[in-house]
């Protein structure tokens, strides 16, 4: 019997190695796999490359991982947040590397990794500083930039419900990077609030089919009190 459900977040992350590239879901406060990130800090893996839309807020989540000194490099689209002081201090001290990627390119690079695409031409960023040093090409008179897939060793995603085959559904805009990241990593770990019986998720409505998911772990639903607001 296939059972991707693991008993705890610690068990889910036990084999994450130093030097891994970790795709971390979430946009603002929505869809952040907070319990998995906390468990990654406790697990101790270091020298990590973190892929996330942002670079952490306050001292929780990705910011806590940065503060703990576990991150070598951040790949993101928007590291400048109102309370992104942990990243800012490390960045200015030269202690963390930043690869800035336009948000759609970030997402499409992970899609390409998950879909077996070798590289792709995108119009985004053509002629800008973010295309410097990259191969470009004019196609039908329009400029494009060659971008390469972005693969994860591990993906940490937050979904609403999952089953033992790893099928997932999300909630509202918390879906954001989850489905794409799930497809782009060797090992995808999904934290969910509910584990349901096989067949309980409507097959017409499953957002991430279980083939993209390695492990599912249930976490308690928390009342979140703070709302992150900042520019995106």
């Amino acid at each position: 019997m296939i059972d991707k459900i693991v008993p705890s977040v610690d068990a889910a992350l036990a084999d994450v190695r130093d030097g891994s590239t970790v795709l971390v879901g979430g946009f603002g406060g929505a869809g952040v796999p907070a319990e998995l990130i906390d468990a990654l800090i406790a697990q101790g893996a270091k020298d990590l490359t973190i892929v996330n839309n942002n670079a952490g807020n306050g001292e929780v989540g990705v910011a806590a991982l940065l503060k703990a000194g576990r991150v070598r490099k951040i790949v993101c689209s928007y590291p400048r947040l109102a309370d992104g002081y942990v990243f800012e201090a490390l960045y200015r001290a030269g202690k963390v590397e930043l690869e800035l990627v336009p948000q759609g390119t970030l997402s499409e690079r992970m899609r390409a990794a998950g879909a077996g695409i070798g590289a792709f031409y995108t119009p985004t960023g053509y002629g800008t500083d973010l295309a410097k040093g990259k191969e470009t090409r004019k196609i039908d008179g329009k400029g494009y930039v060659l971008e390469h897939p972005l693969r994860g060793d591990v993906a940490l995603v937050k979904a609403e419900r999952g089953d033992r085959w790893g099928n997932l559904v999300y909630r509202k805009s918390a879906r954001n990077f989850g489905p794409t990241m799930a497809s782009a990593a060797k090992c995808t770990i999904a934290q969910v609030y509910e584990i349901v019986e096989l067949g309980a998720l409507d097959p017409e409505c499953i957002v991430t089919p279980g083939i993209f998911v390695t492990r599912v772990v249930k976490v308690p639903r928390k009342k979140t009190t703070t709302m992150q607001t900042a520019a995106a």
């Binding site: 946009f27 603002g28 406060g29 929505a30 869809g31 689209s77 928007y78 590291p79 400048r80 992104g84 990243f87 800012e88 960045y91 930043l98 800035l100 990627v101 336009p102 948000q103 759609g104 390119t105 997402s107 499409e108 992970m110 899609r111 995108t122 119009p123 985004t124 960023g125 053509y126 002629g127 800008t128 500083d129 973010l130 400029g143 999300y170 909630r171 509202k172 805009s173 918390a174 879906r175 954001n176 990077f177 989850g178 489905p179 794409t180 957002v207 979140t224 709302m227 992150q228 607001t229 900042a230 520019a231 995106a232």
Partner: protein, 230 residues
């Protein structure tokens, strides 16, 4: 004749008037978000949010906020009946794939050829781009909403952007607190001026030639006592 700059809300209202029924629209973070407050109630307009929402509605009533339902600025929003959620890759496919009819963006500078600079002031600031470059190249119509002049009185419409570029030749129209300006192959065309502002004064403030639209040229001729159309 004297003139007064219009407020941010008035610019937003002016932009909202130009958004037609059925348009798929992305409103950028910051000033452009105000446009959402002025959309004509008698038109169905689809607001897109980069984090995976179509049919985005206004802010919820206090106490009704849902942490899983936020906009690109990470503020709580609502979903209209008929709205949809989708993941990030689909959301940016909607942009790059030219499915969005209009996006309204703020800007530091717009060049005479429609180059846009709105993501980075350069220098010491931590660079952050978000979805700005994807929107700039993707939407069928990129409209900029900004104040015409910087705080120190320099024109934000420039011969050539000095801030880092977001996109090349992407801006079609600029709405400022002084005028509505089209970017055309012939150059910049002033389509509307705030009441009392003469085209010559707008040119002086902008520091470069602005072609008057036919209507503005006709009005200027009238004010000089010329007979129009003879």
């Amino acid at each position: 004749m004297s003139y007064a700059k219009i407020s941010r809300d008035q610019i937003a209202k002016r932009i909202a008037r130009d958004i037609p029924e059925g348009a798929y629209v992305n409103l950028g973070i910051g000033m452009p978000t105000l446009v959402g407050n002025h959309l004509p109630k008698d038109r169905e307009i689809f607001l897109h949010s980069e984090n995976g929402i179509l049919g985005m509605g206004p802010a919820p009533a206090p106490g009704q906020e849902d942490l899983d339902l936020i906009n690109a600025g990470k503020e709580p929003v609502t979903l209209l009946t008929g709205g949809a959620y989708f993941h990030h890759t689909d959301s940016f496919a909607m942009m790059r794939g030219r499915h969005l009819d209009i996006c309204v963006l703020g800007a530091f500078q717009v060049s005479v050829t429609g180059d846009l600079a709105n993501w980075h002031t350069g220098g010491d600031a931590i660079p952050a781009v978000g979805g700005a470059m994807d929107l700039a190249v993707g939407a069928k119509n990129v409209w900029v909403m900004m104040e015409h002049l910087t705080k120190s009185g320099e024109s934000k419409i420039v011969p050539r952007c000095t801030y880092p570029l977001t996109g090349i030749g992407v801006v079609k129209r600029v709405y400022t607190d002084l005028a509505v300006i089209e970017v055309t192959p012939r150059g910049l065309v002033a389509r509307e001026l705030v009441p009392g502002l003469a085209i010559e004064e707008l040119q002086r403030l902008t520091g470069m030639p602005l072609l008057p639209s036919d209507a503005i040229a006709a009005a200027a001729d009238l004010s000089r006592g010329k007979c129009v159309g003879l």
